[in-house]
């Protein structure tokens, strides 16, 4: 005996868009494929194997321990891809697999899955690998070998260290830190230098980043403030003392661009407010310069992002925008001091 059209009451949000979590995640995965392609072009098929192992390591625990159908949203695939891209091209496959599994299990699933984690899972995995296998993760095979040969210890037996001697080459940051040798900025920009699989070509990553930012899949404020802060601080240092590396070198070497575009902008672990995004990016930039210039490590992007991840809840709370129509809260008036009668 109902009359009239049914009244449909739904909860916010009411604005519909075609973007969904899986769509965004899989788009990010697609934009990472060219970056991986450049890595494979420079470092040979071993790089592909390393990334595949990291992806497998990330996807398996998500499938077996995570929520049902959690794989479909693509976030575990991103974690694995990003982790793989931050590893050296000659990294043993079993370690890459372990890093992916650790990152997803201890960086994401223990917090309750997608949307709950405090730290970027890919970087949690990498931090674990860095602490567990400090030698393997800083062994950079020379990029000059025959393309099809597997470099380094890719096929090392699980749990065993490698038997083969690796022809190693230092990364531009390592050269700068430990031997005070610079690398031409153009080489860094286009990617023909040693380093991790995905951190060589800054140009390609920036193009992908602009695409993602245009689609609003990442907050452009974070990479911009991060890169600008790094450039400004290192530029000032370079101007004071020319022994410090210049701004362009700092920005385009190592994993800074990759970290700025793909890791710091992780939607779960970055601030939600615009002002917060600026603070977050600038904080990472400051930490990167501090770690690279005065710290014991050659590269500091990973720890800088992880440290700022831990501050995100506080940044969010401190930068809450004023609700529309709400008056700014009046500042507490200082209590009137009892006047001292001065008689003189």
């Amino acid at each position: 005996m109902s009359s009239g059209p049914p009244l449909l009451v739904t909860a916010a949000p009411h604005v519909k868009s075609a973007d969904s979590t899986p769509r965004i995640m899989w788009t990010v995965v697609l934009t990472l494929l060219p970056v991986l392609g450049v890595g494979v072009y420079h470092f040979g098929p071993g790089a592909l194997l390393v990334v595949a192992a990291a992806v497998a390591g990330a996807v398996l625990p998500e499938h077996f321990l995570g929520r049902r159908r959690a794989l479909g949203d693509g976030s575990a695939a991103i974690t694995g891809l990003l982790l793989g891209l931050t590893l050296p091209p000659g990294f043993p496959l079993w370690m890459a697999f372990l890093g992916g599994a650790f990152g997803i299990s201890f960086g994401k699933l223990v917090f309750g899955g997608l949307g709950q984690n405090v730290f970027n899972p890919a970087l949690v995995g990498r931090a674990f690998l860095q602490a567990a296998f400090p030698v393997a993760i800083t062994t950079w095979p020379a990029p000059a070998a025959e393309w099809a040969t597997l470099r380094g210890d890719v096929l090392a037996t699980p749990l065993m260290s490698a038997a083969a001697d690796t022809v190693t080459a230092a990364t531009p940051l390592g050269l700068m830190k430990f031997e005070s040798t610079g690398t031409a900025v153009m080489d860094l920009f286009l990617g023909s230098t040693g380093g991790c699989i995905g951190e060589t070509s800054a140009l390609l990553i920036l193009v992908c980043g602009v695409f993602l930012a245009a689609k609003r899949y990442l907050d452009w404020r974070i990479p911009l403030s991060m890169i600008l802060t790094t450039a400004v601080i290192s530029g000032v240092l370079h101007a004071i003392d020319a022994d410090y590396p210049g701004a362009l070198f700092m920005v385009f070497s190592g994993g800074l661009v990759l970290g700025a575009v793909y890791m710091a902008t992780d939607m779960v672990t970055s601030p939600v407010t615009a002002k917060g995004a600026w603070i977050f990016g600038a904080g990472i930039g400051v930490l990167v310069v501090v770690i690279r210039v005065w710290g014991g490590l050659a590269e500091g992007v990973m720890y800088a992002i992880l440290l700022m991840n831990s501050l995100v809840p506080f940044i969010n709370r401190a930068t809450q925008p004023r609700v529309f129509g709400q008056r700014p809260r009046p500042k507490p008036q200082p209590k009137p001091q009892p006047q001292q009668e001065t008689t003189s």
Binding site: V110, A131, A132, A163
Partner: protein, 216 residues
Amino acid sequence: MKATTPTQDLMRGIWRENPVLVQMLGLCPALAVTNTVANSLAMGIATFFVLLGSSLLVSLLRHLIPNEVRISAYILIIATFVTVAEMGLEAIVPEVHKALGAFIALIVVNCMILGRQEAFASKRPVGRALLDAVGTGVGFLIALFLMGAFREIIGMGSFLGQPLFGPHYEPWVVMILPPGGFLTLGALLIALSWFQKRRAAGAATAAALAAEGGAA
């Protein structure tokens, strides 16, 4: 106070109310010195000795210690036994004493020991207090041993210094560093709660089946 049988007093601390894995007491030594099996065992045995001695004395003196100053009295008694343990370790196994460093003296502030005095030994006759101390001490020892074994096997590929996997084993350095202590404890607690949940679920299904069978 609920009456307990002597067996309950003895067994309670070992598993059901394990000081580290269930009550989360004494975590400082459990995290700090469990990087090798030898260190864990030494710390577990020293703590066991201190707990046994202080429970004995506190229980003997429970009618003489004034209520107002009981905590300081317990601490004095515990500190006495810690001093004995420290000197004993230094005399018997000097290298272990060196490896454990300040953590032996810090047994004084192990809240598990003070907790047993306040909650149990100061209210029970000597026999029961000793049973409880043995149970809790063994439970602590087991927890430390589990952590130490896990960390040494993975972090160094050895057990009590004996290499297990041959010369090519790649050690997970992080496991013998401080973060490894937290990772190990977390993994142990996850495993334990998973185990208990599964057992509870199993018991529930068994009960449901029994009820069904009874109804049919």
